[in-house]
């Protein structure tokens, strides 16, 4: 469904992405781990169209989208939750989702309402539907990132550290939710997370990135046992 080939992204002299190949099939659940500054968020930015790659190509559902704008990709079915939440501060929680449902989701008014109410309920924000988004705390903002991305009715969900800072009970809820979205609704998920034990409960595949490169890509157990992964990431993070 999504294929990235030889993706490079330079920031001045720094190669944040240095030839990344990644393939996501419909219904996949893929985790991405790696040390700080490995280029994980940058990869998500390139996949979502927020930034353009310096070289390489990205295709989605068989279409070349390397230079397609972010809003076009959102309408094609790529939903994205930012690492640092970016709510629409002057609008209510419900309205934040409504924007996603009515534009990226392409839903008409009634259907958009239903969609928003559903995703707010799913992400535990129903009580806060009428609150201005700039009054939310960090964890609520992260939930809103997820809810707003879901409102766009995505086929591929790109999640960037939405689980950081959760209690055990909360992360268990999150795991159940993402599993449901993936297994029941068939949404492909790419999930960046430092908390590896949470991640492996959901994903069937793990990608480890280091210095803008994919170091390992495969079955989670095998990747975590990979000596290079242990040296480059797990050793330092002591996860």
């Amino acid at each position: 469904m999504l294929v990235a080939t030889g993706v490079r992204r330079d920031f001045g002299a720094l190669a944040a992405l240095d030839g990344v190949d990644l393939r996501i099939d419909a219904g996949d659940a893929v985790g991405i781990v790696g040390p700080n500054g490995a280029g994980k968020t940058t990869l998500l930015n390139v996949l979502a169209g927020t930034i353009l790659p310096s070289a390489g190509s990205v295709s989605f559902k068989g279409q070349d989208v390397t230079r397609a704008r972010a809003d076009a990709r959102a309408r094609m079915g790529i939903g994205r939750a930012h690492q640092i939440p970016r709510p629409f501060g002057g609008m209510t929680v419900f309205e934040n989702c409504f924007v996603g449902a009515s534009t990226g989701g392409g839903l008409r008014r009634r259907a958009a309402y239903e969609r928003c109410l559903t995703v707010l309920e799913m992400s535990g924000l129903a009580e806060l539907a009428d609150r201005r988004a700039d009054t939310l705390g960090l964890l609520e903002r992260k939930r809103l990132e997820l809810a707003r991305a879901l409102a766009t009715n995505p086929e591929l969900l790109l999640l960037d550290e939405i689980g950081a800072g959760l209690t055990d009970a909360e992360s268990a809820q999150l795991v159940t939710l993402i599993q449901e979205l993936n297994r029941r609704d068939g949404i492909a998920v790419v999930w960046i997370e430092h908390i590896v034990h949470v991640l492996v409960q959901v994903v069937e595949r793990l990608v480890c990135m280091v210095s803008g490169r994919v170091l390992a890509d495969g079955e989670p157990k095998a990747v975590l046992a990979d000596k290079r992964v242990v040296d480059a990431y797990l050793g330092s993070a002591a996860a």
Binding site: D71, G77, R80, T92, S102, G106, A111, E114, A151
Partner: protein, 351 residues
């Protein structure tokens, strides 16, 4: 409510019985009453020339023009995040286009309507230039465009060059008839543009525009067509300011390039919107009334006067960023216009 249909993936809809437990409402008794009240005010205003004297009619014309300008600046900045210091370009063009159409033998009042359309047409190509800019660049960029247009118009001898030109064609109307028609047309245009803004904000585009205002990149990431949404708003605001300029020409019967293309208009618009309440529908109206009374009191010109307005506007921006109307809404928790969405939670087992 019908079950949500998943148009793209064909995935099974969520089990709505357990999940979608709420109802979305937009009108409340208060907002219906308030909106209806505004409608009544417009009707009463339409009767003013019949019942009242000439001074009030002229004063109200001035006030309505201020309301129109403030509403347009607020639509652009308060809902689209596009802070412009160059809308005087369209005020000037609207005024001069009215003169030009009148010189071509068009009835001046029809000329004012055509001038409004003309400003929308001019704004389309210009939008491709200025919408490349963001933030302060956009503010300054639109100002530069306004100055350039002002200078260009001031070079045209047919339009009176730098000294200006009278709208003599309006002399064919008797004074009171002229004042009445000018007033009614101003009321009609101000109402028209307010209603357009109202409908725009209530529609899906309104939500998208506010999203752009709050975070352009995040708006794009959920699928908002950022540039076209801004373009629609920019053209609307340009047309509205064109109408305000045309009515200004009718109101003062004389246009002069440095005055009608003056950046002071931007200062006035910013003042009205910041004081009244940016990002609220009612705020610009409140701000216009306040500026109107200040102008009655202290005149309309002079360096210190403008510095004073600017200082007040800055104080508001810093200490009361949502303006007087925003303060009222915050204090009372009430929404007077049905522009947002309210979710009423419904008992789960109802579905």
């Amino acid at each position: 409510m019908e079950p949500q249909t998943d148009t793209r993936t064909g995935a099974a809809p969520e089990p709505a019985a357990a999940l979608a437990a709420g109802q979305v409402s937009r009108w409340t008794r208060l907002s219906a009453g308030f909106t209806g009240g505004l409608g009544v005010v417009v009707l009463l205003l339409a009767l003013v020339p019949v019942a009242m004297g000439a001074t009030l009619v002229q004063d109200l014309t001035t006030l309505l023009i201020l309301v129109l300008m403030a509403t347009m600046w607020n639509a652009l900045a308060g809902y689209g995040g596009l802070v412009s210091v160059g809308l005087q370009a369209y005020i000037g063009l609207g005024a001069y286009a009215t003169v030009w159409f009148s010189l071509q033998g068009v009835d001046p009042y029809w000329g004012m309507v055509l001038a409004t359309l003309f400003c929308a047409v001019v704004a389309l190509p210009l939008s491709f230039l200025v919408l490349r800019f963001r933030g302060a660049q956009f503010a300054i960029g639109t100002w530069v465009v306004a100055e350039a247009i002002g200078i260009y118009v001031g070079l045209d001898n047919q339009l009176g060059a730098g000294t200006g030109i009278s709208l003599v064609q309006l002399d064919s109307y008797a004074t009171s008839t002229r004042e009445h028609i000018t007033y009614w047309l101003t009321l009609a245009l101000t109402t028209f543009f307010s209603v357009i803004v109202f409908m725009l904000l209530r529609g899906r585009l309104g939500a998208s525009l506010q999203a752009i205002r709050d975070d352009e990149q995040a708006a794009a990431s959920v699928g908002v067509r950022v540039v076209s949404a801004k373009r629609i708003l920019f053209i609307l605001a340009s047309a509205g300011c064109g109408a305000a300029g045309a009515m200004t020409a009718a109101n003062i019967l004389f246009v002069q390039p440095t005055a009608i293309f003056s950046v002071n208009y931007s200062a006035f618009m910013i003042f009205m919107v910041l004081v009244g309440g940016i990002g609220t529908f009612e705020g610009p109206i409140v701000g216009a009334v306040i500026l109107y009374f200040i102008q009655q009191q202290f005149g309309n010109d002079g360096t210190w006067y403008l510095i004073g307005l600017g200082a007040v506007a800055i104080l508001f921006a810093v200490f009361l960023p949502r303006g007087l109307w925003g303060l009222l809404e915050e204090r009372t928790g009430l929404r007077f216009m049905p522009l947002g969405y309210r979710v009423r939670r419904r008992a789960r087992e109802l579905r």
